[in-house]
């Protein structure tokens, strides 16, 4: 039971990968990449969780109150920014692909091969 959150992260990762591999639309592919990344958020935050811990913000509770790990929260914040970055760049590319090729299907984009 106590490993279920980690198993959930694994499941999300693999499902996202499946989405990327079988995608028929670039926007769908970008969203699947975001799903894959969200598995890393789940894993990081699940690792840092402390039982019955509160947020590591001591504005209204005394310092030393049981709190979760702040480091993974900082890592997740960086992770989210990375996700936005990649999504923005890939969506911009998808728009241009639609304009040049008239298609949004990754399988039909095969100018470069061999």
């Amino acid at each position: 039971m106590s490993y279920l959150p980690y198993a959930l992260a694994v499941w999300i990762f693999v499902v996202g990968l499946y989405g990327v591999v079988t995608s028929r639309n670039f926007v769908h592919l970008v969203v699947c990449l975001a799903v894959t990344q969200s598995s890393t958020y789940v894993l990081l935050l699940a690792i840092g969780y402390v039982d019955r811990g509160t947020a590591p913000v001591f504005a209204d509770v005394p310092t030393g109150t049981r709190a979760v790990d702040p480091v993974v929260q900082a890592l997740t914040l960086t992770d989210i920014v990375v996700s936005v970055t990649v999504a923005a760049l890939l969506l911009a590319l998808a728009i241009q692909v639609q304009r040049r090729n008239g298609t949004m299907n990754p399988d039909e984009l095969n100018e470069l091969r061999g």
Binding site: Y49, F58, T63, P70, V71, V81, A88, L89
Partner: protein, 245 residues
């Protein structure tokens, strides 16, 4: 490779990968029983050393502030990249004029009201980053949301009028460069890059944390400008509507 072959290869590999990953996470400490030194030490010392009650902000902008510099520039690079990728290429002809949508007055009024609220909330979140949950990134996104609301509740022309390209570029460069330059200031003052300097103030008040609020502000400026640029670039891709009265 045919699609079937690809899916077959993937299915096989995914089965193996899942097994490996499940085997590896079994080695982690049980959920909720994490007791490692790094986070524990930070929770203990952040408030007393840096007078910031928000330990996450202290981690993001002080203890691991160098990561945040990189992260800020990742956003910066992405926005410059999007501007590069969505640029007008000569052979496409002129910029099609964006027809403004007509929105009703009540929508416009409510939109302006919300816009003001968002600006205030965003500024609040940025300013209190060192004290309560929030900070430059979060507040910056809220502030950018206010600009998006101008487009949604108003029209494209107002949005562009309020976000002139040179000003937004300047803000973005200022925010990103400002963060890096604050680090250099620390070096000029004789310590390491991004060493927290300045009066640390009292924990729990707005004036606390030393250079953390400054870095917060620089980040907020950069994130707001970056998202406004993203909105601008993507909104320019909307086709002009025809046949509207």
């Amino acid at each position: 490779m045919t699609r079937q072959l690809r899916i077959g290869l993937f299915a096989l590999s995914a089965a193996g990968l899942t097994a490996l990953l499940l085997w590896s996470v079994a080695g982690l400490p049980a959920f909720g029983h994490y007791h490692e030194r790094y986070g524990t030490l930070l929770k203990k010392v952040a408030v007393s050393e840096r007078h910031t009650t928000n330990v996450v902000t202290a981690t993001v902008f002080d203890y691991r502030g160098f990561d945040t510099l990189g992260e800020e520039f990742i956003l910066f690079a992405a926005v410059v990249g999007v501007a590069l990728l969505l640029r007008e290429v000569r052979e496409e002809g002129g910029h099609a004029r964006r027809r403004d949508r007509l929105v009703s007055d009540p929508v416009g009024l409510v939109g302006i009201g919300f816009c003001a609220a968002l600006l205030l909330i965003g500024l609040y979140v940025v300013a209190h980053g060192a004290i309560t949950p929030g900070g430059g990134f979060q507040g910056g996104v809220v502030l950018a949301g206010a600009f998006a609301l101008i487009y949604l509740a108003g029209d494209y022309r107002s949005f562009r009028a309020l976000t002139p390209q040179p000003a937004v570029d300047f803000a973005e460069g200022l925010g990103a460069g400002g963060y890096a330059v604050i680090g250099v200031v620390s070096m000029v003052l004789g310590s390491a890059y991004l060493h927290n300097f300045g009066p640390f103030g009292t924990a729990g008040t707005l004036a606390s944390g030393g250079s953390v609020p400054m870095l917060n502000l620089a980040t907020a400026v950069e994130v707001t400008a970056a998202f406004v640029l993203l909105f601008t670039e993507f909104l320019q891709e909307l086709p002009a509507r025809s046949g509207e009265s």
